[in-house]
């Protein structure tokens, strides 16, 4: 199995387009996942009876095979980018919800009591005390969700999307390994780069943790 380097040189434009489209699908899904899971996590954290239910539902959603999720969405949103993004978002929810709830749980009670004693309103406490303190655990979830989404985008190649995943179908149909190797390598690279970017983002967002480290 040899790599046809000239193919890579001839297709740099296509590869760039696919990489951007791949990253766009994954990041949109993670962004939506965060938007949905934050309020749900607050509910699960505050209302104990709903906690088991919300985490249970997200766990069951996670067991559904990704290809099945994409296919089951076809009657709703058809062969479109929307289907890809919805499918990926569903997958991010499990990790994001669990980590955000755990993060909120890990906030020291004393910090919350101090905020209350100073007359801080509950919403403000949530935004300025609880979320910042929960951020490391939440970000750990965001990192897992991002890497997972980047890997999963390629499954959407079966429904005609899939970013770099299209290289797998292409290589398979033409019995030509180069695009497949390039696709796998670029996917892994994207995951590494995105993960490093999130580590950097967390460093910027949590200045109070730097002195300790």
């Amino acid at each position: 199995m040899t790599i046809d380097w000239s193919w890579i040189g001839d297709h740099t434009d296509d590869l760039t387009t696919l990489t951007i489209s791949h990253l766009q699908a994954a990041l949109t899904a993670v962004f939506l996942g965060v938007l949905i899971s934050l309020p749900l996590a607050v509910i699960a954290h505050r209302v104990r009876p709903l906690r088991g239910f919300l985490l249970g539902v997200s766990n069951v959603l996670f067991t559904i095979p990704s290809i099945a999720v994409f296919v089951l969405l076809l009657p709703v949103s058809g062969l479109t980018r929307t289907t890809t993004v919805i499918g990926l978002t569903i997958y991010t929810l499990v990790v994001l919800l669990r980590n955000t709830v755990e993060g909120l749980d890990s906030v020291p009670v004393k910090a919350k009591e101090a905020a209350k004693a100073m007359g801080t309103r509950p919403l403000r406490t949530l935004l300025t005390v609880e979320f910042p303190l929960a951020l490391p655990v939440i970000m750990a979830g965001v990192r897992i969700a991002t890497v997972m989404s980047i890997s999963l985008v390629s499954v959407a190649t079966y429904i005609g999307d899939g970013g770099l995943g299209q290289l797998f179908t292409d290589g398979f149909q033409r019995n030509f390994p180069t695009p497949v190797i390039v696709g796998v390598v670029l996917t892994l690279l994207l995951a590494v780069v995105a993960d490093a970017a999130l580590v950097a983002l967390q460093y910027v967002l949590t200045p109070w943790r730097r002195r300790r480290a």
Partner: protein
């Protein structure tokens, strides 16, 4: 939409769909066969590795990075790659499924081993137990609940992903998904997807019930 679900219901319960070599019963058996064999191979690789890393404390870096590498590796790409390299056989499917399952098993085994109370290990050594005795008689039993969680996660992921066998022209429940996609037969595609999802969810529920039963006397 209503018409579609009615047809889907009819497809799932139709007697002719369940019989014969293309029938659901046979495809289901194939699907379970691929999944169980792949998980078994992955356990044979991942369990000793996780136990070794946990027991010696060496290679923790490997265990943690293996998990993120496993998450990042695109399964479809891996299957196609091994297929193109090795030709038409079940090998690509098993390679991809095993590669998917090993990280989950290693990291959970390792997590279970690190969660064992160091005082308990010290006590075992103090009583004169050898390294392998501590591992097999103390650490392994205490780590077992987390190890089983890892095996369960791995099996569920493998069942969900075994759909891919049909992509490289083998059987299993993925057959309906890919044949349906090729024939523009949405009912068949949905039927296959629903079956895979039901099998995955049912296995997960059954295994977590088994886990709860086996470890019902433990507090943690």
């Amino acid at each position: 939409m209503y018409e579609l679900f009615k047809n889907l219901g009819a497809w799932l319960v139709g007697g002719e769909q369940w019989a014969g070599p293309d029938g659901i019963a046979h495809r289901l058996a194939e699907h379970l066969q691929y999944s169980l064999l792949a998980t078994l191979i992955a356990t044979a690789i991942g369990l000793p590795l996780g136990l070794l890393i946990g027991h010696t404390g060496k290679g923790a870096f490997l265990a943690i990075n293996l998990a993120s590498f496993g998450r990042a590796l695109p399964t479809v790409g891996l299957v196609v790659l091994v297929f193109l390299a090795g030709g038409l056989s079940m090998l690509p499917v098993y390679v991809a499924l095993v590669a998917l399952a090993v990280p989950a098993i290693v990291t959970n085994t390792y997590a279970g081993m690190t969660a064992v109370d160091p005082d308990v290990k010290d006590a075992a050594r103090g009583q004169g137990m050898r390294g392998h005795q501590v591992l097999l008689q103390v650490e392994l039993p205490l780590a077992l609940p987390l190890i089983m969680t890892g095996l369960r996660l791995a099996l569920i992921q493998v069942v969900a992903t075994a759909t891919i066998a049909a992509y490289v022209s083998f059987g299993g429940l993925g057959r309906y998904v890919f044949d349906g996609l090729a024939q523009r037969d949405l009912v068949q595609v949905l039927g296959g997807a629903v079956l895979v999802a039901v099998v995955a969810v049912a296995l997960d529920l059954a295994l977590s019930a088994l886990q709860r039963f086996l470890f019902r006397h433990r507090t943690a």
